[in-house]
C-alpha cells in the first residue's frame, strides 16, 4: 500500500458556546467534528458527503489547519501539521490548497485577476514581478481563460469563470493536495460539467490529490475514488465509490442515496424518507447518533455507539446491523 500523502488521526473540533451566565465558562460546546480519521493517498480523489451541519467543511479546515483542532493530528507527507510553528506551516501550505464554495465571495472585488492569482506567489516570495506575470498567464491558460483576462476584475466574470480563477489561484504554488469545498455546487449544470472536466484534466496533468467535499451525490460518484460519509461530526461509512453506491451498509448512506432525485420521469424510486432533523450537535443522542432517524434502529442502537466494522478491504461502516450478519435490513 502506498504511503498516504495526508493523514488525519482522531480529529476533534468542539466550538465552545457562550455561557448564559456572563463571565462564566460554558460547559457546552458544538461537537462539529468528533473523532474523524482518514487517509488520502497520492493521486486519488476522496469524497466527503453528508447533510449540511455534519462537519464536512470543518474537516476541510482542520486538514489545512485553518482552524486548530480540539484534539487530533494531521500529517502531511509524514510531517505533523499541528506541531508546526507559523513559518513551517506557511511552507507546508504550499502543498495543500483550497478551492471554496462561493465563487462570488472568494475573490476580492477590488483586485485584478493578476493580483488575485499572483497573491500566493507574493506571499511565498516566489519569483520577481515579471516571472509572476508569466506564471499568471500560464495559469489562466491552464484553466481555460485567456491571458488578457489578467487585468480585469472579478465582477467581469461569470460564476463558472470565477471558479476557474479560484482554481488557478489554488494551483499557483504547484500544490500536491487540493481541497475542493463544494467547489461546483453553486454552478449551473452545464457550467458545473465544464469545471468538473477541468478538475479531472488538471488532476491528470499535475498528479493532484483531491479531497472533494460536496452534497451532490451524483457529482461525488463521478469524481471520487473513495468516499467518506459523515453524519453529525462522525464518519459512519467509508469505502470506494463502488462500495458506497453499490453495496452501502449504513442505513444513513442508503437514505442519502435514495434521496437522489430520479433520473427520468418513469423511474420509480424506493425512498427511505428520513423523518425529523439532524439532531443537535450540542447534545448528541446517546448510542448511535443516527438511531432517532434510523428506520432499522434496534434497542442496542439507543445505548451503545457502534464501532467501525470492516466490511471488506476497502469498506468500513459503523452500524450494529452489520455484526448481526443477517440481511433483513438490506433493501
Amino acid at each position: 500500500m502506498k504511503e498516504p500523502i495526508l493523514q488525519a488521526k482522531g480529529l476533534k473540533k468542539f466550538f465552545p458556546l457562550d455561557s448564559p451566565i456572563p463571565f462564566k465558562k460554558s460547559s457546552d460546546s458544538v461537537r462539529a467534528v468528533d473523532d474523524v480519521s482518514f487517509e488520502l493517498y497520492p493521486g486519488e480523489t476522496l469524497g466527503v458527503v453528508g447533510e449540511s451541519g455534519c462537519g464536512k467543511s470543518t474537516v476541510a479546515r482542520l486538514a489545512t489547519r485553518l482552524i486548530q483542532p480540539t484534539e487530533g493530528t494531521v500529517y502531511l507527507e509524514g510531517q505533523n501539521l499541528m506541531t508546526m510553528n507559523e513559518e513551517q506551516l506557511r511552507v507546508a501550505r504550499r502543498d495543500i490548497q483550497m478551492v471554496f464554495q462561493n465563487p462570488y465571495a472568494s475573490l476580492d472585488p477590488r483586485k485584478t485577476i493578476e493580483q488575485l492569482i499572483s497573491e500566493p506567489l507574493v506571499i511565498h516570495k516566489i519569483g520577481d514581478k515579471r516571472s509572476r506575470r508569466k506564471r499568471v498567464h500560464e495559469l489562466l491558460e491552464v484553466v481555460g481563460l485567456q491571458s488578457h483576462h489578467a487585468n480585469r476584475h472579478p465582477h467581469e466574470f461569470s460564476g463558472g469563470q470565477r471558479q476557474r480563477i479560484n482554481i488557478a489561484r489554488a494551483l499557483a504554488l504547484n500544490p500536491k493536495v487540493v481541497i475542493c469545498d463544494e467547489s461546483v455546487s453553486a454552478l449551473d449544470v452545464s457550467v458545473q460539467a465544464q469545471v468538473i472536466n477541468l478538475l479531472k484534466e488538471l488532476q491528470k496533468e499535475f498528479q493532484l490529490t483531491y479531497m472533494f467535499i460536496s452534497h451532490d451525490l451524483n457529482v461525488v460518484r463521478y469524481m471520487c475514488d473513495r468516499i467518506l460519509v459523515m453524519y453529525l461530526g462522525e464518519v459512519v461509512e467509508v469505502g470506494t465509490y463502488k462500495d458506497i453506491y453499490e453495496r452501502p451498509e449504513h442505513p444513513y448512506t442508503k437514505a442519502l442515496l435514495s434521496a437522489i432525485p430520479r433520473e427520468n420521469p418513469e423511474e420509480e424510486k424506493e425512498r427511505i424518507i428520513l423523518t425529523g432533523n439532524v439532531p443537535s450537535p450540542i447534545h448528541p443522542p446517546s448510542g448511535c447518533y443516527f438511531h432517532e432517524r434510523c428506520p432499522f434502529a434496534m434497542d442496542i442502537c439507543k445505548t451503545k455507539a457502534p464501532e467501525m466494522v470492516t466490511v471488506s478491504d476497502s469498506h468500513e461502516a459503523a452500524c450494529h446491523l452489520i455484526n448481526k450478519g443477517d440481511s433483513e435490513h438490506v433493501i
Binding site: V189, S258, P261, E266
Partner: protein, 337 residues
C-alpha cells in the same frame, strides 16, 4: 378555450432598462397551465426563469423593469389589467410563491407565527383566535412538530429545511389555486429536498393546487412535473410533457442540458459533455435563434431568422429551424462537444 385552463400566458415580454439600453430578460413566453397540473421551467442562470415567475405575481420592480408586452390570463381574466389593489387581493391568496432562499425570505425580527398570521389575516376574515388555530394547523400540515410552541419562535431558530416548510405553510395558508415555487429546494440537502418534494406532492392532493416549479435541476422536474418548459436567454426553446421531453428531446440546447447532467450511468473515466460558449448578451436584439452561437448545427438561417415554436409531437413544441418533418435534426451520438 381559456376557461379550461387555470393560467394562460401569451407572448410575455419583460424588459429592464439599464442605462440607455434595454435588457430583454424575458422575450416572448407563452404557455398554458391546467388545474392541478405541474409545470417545470428549466434553464441556466440568466435565462429568465425567475423573471417569468416574478412577472406572474406582478412583482417586477418598476422601474427599471416593465412588462413590455403580453397577457397573463388567470381564470379567464388578464391580471395585467388589474389595479394594484385588486392584484394585492390575489397575490398570496390565489397565487402564491415560494422563493429560493429560505434564510432570507423570512423576516428575522418577527416570529414565525407573526408572519404566518399576517398572510392569513390579510386575506381571510378570521378572528385572531381562529387565525391562530389556522396557523397551527398549517404548520402541522407541513410537518413541523410542536407547532404551537414553534409559532412563537424566530426564523433563526429553525433549520433551512424547516424554514422552507414555514415558507410553504405561509404560501399555502390561503389555499392558493396556483403555487409558484422558485428553486425551493436548491439551497437544501438532498434528504431535505426529498422530504419537501414529497410534502409538495402530498399537499397538492389535499388542496388541489397547480404548481409552477422553477429549477435548474432536471431531477426535480422528473419528480414533480407533468410538463416542462425549457428556457434559454429569455426565449422558449422547447416545451412538452416530461416523458416525451426526456425520451425524445428535440432542441440542441435541451440535448446539452440533458447531457451535462451526471447520472448513475456516467462512467468516471468519460468526459462530461458540455455546451461550449456562454449565453448571448440580452441587451442586443438577436435577429436569429438565441442559441445559434453555441449550436454545432447552426446554419445561416439560424442567425438570420428567429425560429417559431412548432408542434412536432402531440403537445411537444420546439423552436428550431431544423425540426420540421423534412429537415429533422437527428441527435448525433458522438462528439458534438
Amino acid at each position: 378555450m381559456g376557461d379550461e385552463h387555470l393560467l394562460e400566458v401569451n407572448n410575455l415580454k419583460v424588459h429592464f432598462r439599464s442605462g440607455k439600453k434595454t435588457v430583454r430578460a424575458v422575450d416572448g413566453i407563452s404557455f398554458k397551465l391546467g388545474k392541478k397540473e405541474n409545470l417545470g421551467i428549466v434553464g441556466e442562470s440568466g435565462s429568465g426563469k425567475s423573471v417569468t415567475a416574478t412577472a406572474l405575481m406582478r412583482l417586477i420592480p418598476s422601474p427599471p423593469g416593465k412588462i413590455a408586452d403580453g397577457e397573463i390570463i388567470f381564470e379567464g381574466e388578464n391580471i395585467l389589467k388589474y389595479s394594484n389593489r385588486k392584484m394585492r387581493d390575489i397575490r398570496g391568496n390565489e397565487i402564491s410563491m415560494i422563493f429560493q432562499d429560505p434564510t432570507t425570505s423570512l423576516n428575522p425580527v418577527y416570529t414565525v407565527g407573526n408572519q404566518l398570521l399576517e398572510a392569513i389575516q390579510t386575506h381571510q376574515q378570521l378572528s385572531k383566535k381562529d387565525a391562530q388555530e389556522k396557523a397551527v394547523e398549517m404548520l402541522e400540515l407541513v410537518g413541523i412538530p410542536e407547532a404551537r410552541r414553534r409559532l412563537k419562535m424566530y426564523p433563526h431558530e429553525f433549520s433551512g429545511g424547516m424554514r422552507q416548510r414555514v415558507m410553504i405553510a405561509i404560501a399555502l395558508s390561503c389555499n392558493p389555486k396556483l403555487l409558484i415555487a422558485d428553486e425551493p429546494t436548491t439551497a437544501l440537502d438532498v434528504t431535505v429536498q426529498a422530504q419537501i418534494l414529497e410534502l409538495m406532492k402530498k399537499l397538492q392532493d389535499e388542496i388541489d393546487t397547480s404548481i409552477i416549479m422553477i429549477t435548474h435541476d432536471l431531477g426535480v422536474v422528473w419528480e414533480l412535473c407533468d410538463n416542462v418548459l425549457v428556457m434559454y436567454a429569455g426565449h422558449m426553446v422547447e416545451s412538452g410533457p416530461v416523458q416525451s421531453l426526456h425520451s425524445n428531446p428535440l432542441h440542441p440546447y435541451t440535448w446539452g442540458l440533458l447531457d451535462s447532467q451526471i447520472t448513475s450511468e456516467t462512467e468516471s473515466d468519460e468526459l462530461l459533455r458540455t455546451v461550449p460558449g456562454a449565453p448571448p448578451n440580452l441587451m442586443t436584439e438577436l435577429p436569429g435563434c438565441p442559441f445559434a452561437d453555441r449550436c454545432v448545427y447552426a446554419q445561416d438561417i439560424c442567425r438570420e431568422k428567429k425560429p417559431e415554436m412548432l408542434e412536432v409531437e402531440e403537445n411537444h413544441f420546439v423552436a428550431c429551424h431544423f425540426q420540421t418533418e423534412d429537415s429533422r435534426l437527428e441527435r448525433r451520438g458522438g462528439d458534438h462537444s
